[in-house]
Symmetry: D2
Subunit: 390 residues, 4 copies
């Protein structure tokens, strides 16, 4: 089979439907969630997801490989609300992937099924305040101690997206070893309402999550039964990899949609607004901004597809995933930044979606491994690969 | 007199006092204005300004040339609240400069004196929605028509900073010619409460002004007397230049303080936080971020001082002002962006001041002439200068 | 057919053989052509091409589509002499492509066959000194006037690569219209030795062509018969497009090989050289340089493959070709620049191949359309595409 | 004394004369040294220096502080031959500075006087092949062993600029300690013709030195008398600092002249050459290149002047010197690169001086400490400075 950039016909058709759905249904809802949501975000989510079901675009990830997801998720990402509507937003989408791979029968019924159906939301509780698990997951400090018939979890997590309102958390805790060790982690399914799990606060961040942003959570003598163990004891770090690789890429897919949206807003503005007697789109410096963003978007997409293909083939794909993540996060930021510049005062006002997108994309260079950590890993792998053939 | 970078002793002493005042008094107040101000921002302003008076650092601009201001304003800009405390924040500081140069005796008593004393605030109403006065001021569309004993102003302004709560506006309106003409503008002093001047809305923007951000204002049959004319009729564009040149530079001074603050926050974090077994400040990629920011800050300061010197000498200084404004706005943004990256998740959370600074600095590349307009002007002047010696 | 990055097995095998051939046979010859070639470059070319024949890797382009060429040409480009050895160097490779598409039976026998066999070399005479055909081909000023039984060509060409020693030139001349017109150009096959075609000088350039660099050629009453017309009269601009699209991409393929070579040289150095007590490859700033080059190489390759696929499908592909050309030319430059930096003094000395590569790659951002022209075209196409769906 | 950018009148007058001399006398000679110099470079040097004496601009550094040198050297650097003509080229200029500070009476007569008069040339032999003294001078491996009445030097040096034809070398050798130690180095004055000092080869480099480029020198049982010791035994590292600080800055001054020259060549081209119906200088993307170079030049000059001022005040100045060196070397490279791009094919041909300048400036980011080493030092000093006030 040769190098091939054709998109499968059924994927192309689905992506086309998603594009139309986002443009016709989701984008008009955006203003709502920028202002005050008098009935909270939950009704908005239910309304959007029902519309997606009606349009036949709900939960498309369940029947697509990563390359197919790349095309469809980018289309959905064109609005910040798109992934929510299609039930492919983080962290639920990554959790579904993880549960589908690791959960037992009962757990699938109880957690995965309603999650796929959009009946509940979830969160993934791994990151801890310093000196706990951050860019180095092995620093995991939260502990799960054996008690009769179950476990008692103690520790603190933060920057846990979507925790506020989630029906359950997947909590990573140390069942063996000490902070710094490469093994000994276990994942637990903890139900909201467990008296030992408390949301301490919602951390205000540059990006405005729709659902209370990113929470700090205290696990304080949080007792769970044996049936709460996800997969096997002590295999938590392995499962984290199962989740993280594809989750990085699905993040990139959604971000790419944001970049395309920003570029379109900028192109519209450049066509309609004049300066010094000519439309902006005919001014050389504006053309340079536009062209650089086109190049960035194309390169981001090509690298992303490449990484998806690697994972779809069952190859390790760590190098391609790191490269794609680093480039896409930085390229998306550049594209939105250029769009803001082209739109001028409008670009930084809430009258256009750009300032919202701008706040949303800056953290991408930090989330899922900061660019520096990925560059370090990329360089090390390059050095090793070269040493192997020297 | 040779090239000289010594700071005058009295300026150095004053800057030292300002630095201490900001560190001891202003920075601790920052949390207050990030959260809810139950009694509104005005009490905060009065409290801070009284503290500045007590510390002997209030309104220092009245006794400094631009080079002196460069040193002192940078020290004040270390906190977003610093310039407010010292009564050297935009737009009041620029308005004071303008009034001091152009206002008549009565106007000075009525507007300048209480402004200098911090008793009132003001705004500057020039920018208009498309197709009015934007990056091209000659597109001015608001009109002032002669009536008996005065003028009637009609038109719309937007992105008018500080309008909400201002005691008066300096409004630019066309008393002659048509949009596109290089002359025919006049400045008017319009009191808040004039029934013909209404704040339509406060435009939400990426940067969060303390006082309602940036307003849209409607002038609708707004009648003012002859004594409302600032300076002479039809000389508004000249006066705008009087205000704009130094105002661009004082903006840069305050921004530079922001950059220094961000860098210090990053340095503190890099010293206290470890990754992979070493403090961040010992990791090469972090050192590169730190070094690049040091270089940016030094270059920004040197270009700024140069432009200030040009204006202090009474030279035209347009080229040096454009160069300084363009470089400083972009450098400050890079410095804050790098600081965010060094601080990671903390950098994008409200637990550190960086995410607030980050939102604040992006618009600098657009305000006071977007980088592209300045580059266009810089290139044209360079071409002309070269042609002259060819 | 889904998105696919597998390389066809026969292509992969061929590329593997080329890689080995370049490493074992071609790289060791490099020193020879950096110093004085006492018997001139022609014997070197013949020796290398014979070795390529013996290794079964000669003239591989004749049996590969563009995607296959992308893989194989990159492998050949690992040495500046590689493409020469395989007979896929510019301008011959592009001329073969053009002749294969357009030449008549007799022309194929007389020009294409010996060219494919490596018996002769050729050149492509299109570019003219200002105000002639440069980045704007329509400025074509060289004329071909009808004479009995043929044409008389008058005009001047420059930067004609490989002219010195070429057996024939493909000369573009105006048979109709005037400079600035979009039509009226015809291609002529002019034999070396025609008394009306003279090499005026070889222009010294930053890149050192192996064969006299880039020549300036005078056509002065140069008479050719009707059989010298390539394809049809007045269709020269169409044929130029036939040649240019793929030629841009084959250039990119060879350049990419240069980038990979530079990166390998840098990786070897970073592994063997220490500073401050650690191998360079463990220093963060060096890792950043290495990682950025890996990212650049991967993105360049992905964009290039994409553009090749577009042309292989028979699509227009102008946008993807422009994007690939612009990105690859700039990325290759960055990669070589970083490699020079990593290698330090060695990097700028002739003791390593980098300084030679460095000189070679700078012109890529100018040849085949400067980056600015491509960006202008990319922006215009983006604006049009957006307008179509608005 | 306030911040001041006025250039002293006598410096301004001198710089004016230098500018005129370079334009009228030196630039016309440039073509000569790009081609074959049938009588070698030495006659050219003597001719140019006599012309400089006649014009009253010879050896101006002897009567200027660093700020004055900054202005005059930049004027001289406008041509690559300018510093040679004025006898302020590296390495002679740095050696004169060192000798003036450290040499004894006899040494001054014998070495300094004829050097200042332009009668002889010299070289500075410090850098060694790996694992010797490179970016880390303490790795010094060349030894000087005590013999009766003098010393015997053994070791190998390379990248020694101007060695070919120099009347003497200042050789740094270890008289105590072992490679890696921070002390124990001594400087020796070694006459050309000493049978123990041999030029092994001239290393071909990207930049083409006028005098045989950069040599590799073998010290093989090289015997010198006690009078050959420069300053005191074991103080070589101190003296190296005496030489290096100002030498870095004088390098920057000359480079800045190169940048200004490149920008002028580009401005001339942009004024005279048209594309798409308009002069290049009116195209937005070209204007951006021009403006960015103006900004770079102004920032480079401001940082350079600042560092000069620090040293002129007798302050340590290491941070400002590092910042200036790093920024200037990179900015100069960008300026020349942009000029090449603006000039297109002409820019990479020897028909314009740019390709020569381009080759010349790349090594600046490596010479006198690579950018990475300076950034490391800048970051460390910034961290320390912050820790001190924390």
């Amino acid at each position: 089979m040769p190098i091939e950039f054709t998109v499968d016909e059924h994927v192309a058709r689905l992506a086309g439907r998603v594009r139309e759905f986002v443009r016709e249904v989701v984008v008009p809802e955006e203003q709502a969630c920028d202002g005050v949501l008098h009935d909270g975000p939950e009704p908005l989510r239910r309304r959007l997801q029902q519309a997606a079901r009606d349009a036949g675009v709900f939960a498309p990830h369940l029947r697509l490989d990563l390359r197919g997801q790349a095309v469809v998720f980018e289309a959905a990402g064109y609005s910040l609300l798109g992934p929510l509507a299609l039930n492919i937003a983080a962290p639920d989408e990554g959790n579904m992937h993880l549960l589908a791979k690791v959960a037992g029968e009962d757990q699938r019924k109880r957690y995965l099924a309603p999650l796929e159906a959009g009946e509940i939301r979830s969160c993934f509780a791994m990151t801890e305040p310093a000196p706990g698990a951050g860019s180095d997951p092995r620093a995991l400090s939260t502990t799960a101690a054996r008690i009769t018939g179950g476990w008692r979890i103690d520790g603190r997590k933060w920057f846990i997206s979507g925790a506020d309102g989630a029906a359950f958390a997947i909590c990573m805790a140390r069942t063996g070893g000490a902070p710094g060790d490469a093994g000994g982690a276990t994942m637990f399914l903890v139900d909201a309402g467990n008296p030992g799990m408390k949301i301490v606060r919602n951390i205000a961040t540059l990006d405005e999550g729709l659902f209370g942003g990113h929470s700090e959570i205290a696990f304080d003598g949080c007792e769970v039964g044996d049936e709460a163990v996800l997969g096997e004891v002590d295999r938590g770090f392995d499962y984290a990899q199962v989740r993280l690789g594809p989750a990085r890429l699905t993040h990139c897919m959604r971000w790419l949609g944001i970049a395309r949206r920003a570029q379109d807003v900028a192109l519209d503005r450049a066509a309609s607004r004049s300066a010094f007697g000519r439309p902006l789109e005919e001014l050389g410096m504006v053309q340079q901004l536009i062209a650089d963003s086109e190049i960035d978007i194309e390169a981001a997409r090509a690298l992303l597809w490449r990484a998806c293909w690697e994972l779809d083939q069952g190859r390790p794909g760590a190098q391609h995933t790191s490269i794609a993540k680093t480039f896409v996060a930085e390229a998306v930021h550049r594209v939105v930044d250029r769009a803001v510049q082209i739109c001028g005062a409008l670009g930084i006002s809430a009258d256009a979606p750009l300032s919202r997108l701008y706040r949303e994309v800056r953290p991408f260079r930090i989330y899922d491994g900061p660019s520096e950590t990925h560059r370090w890993a990329i360089a090390r792998r390059a050095s090793k690969a070269r040493a192997a053939v020297r």
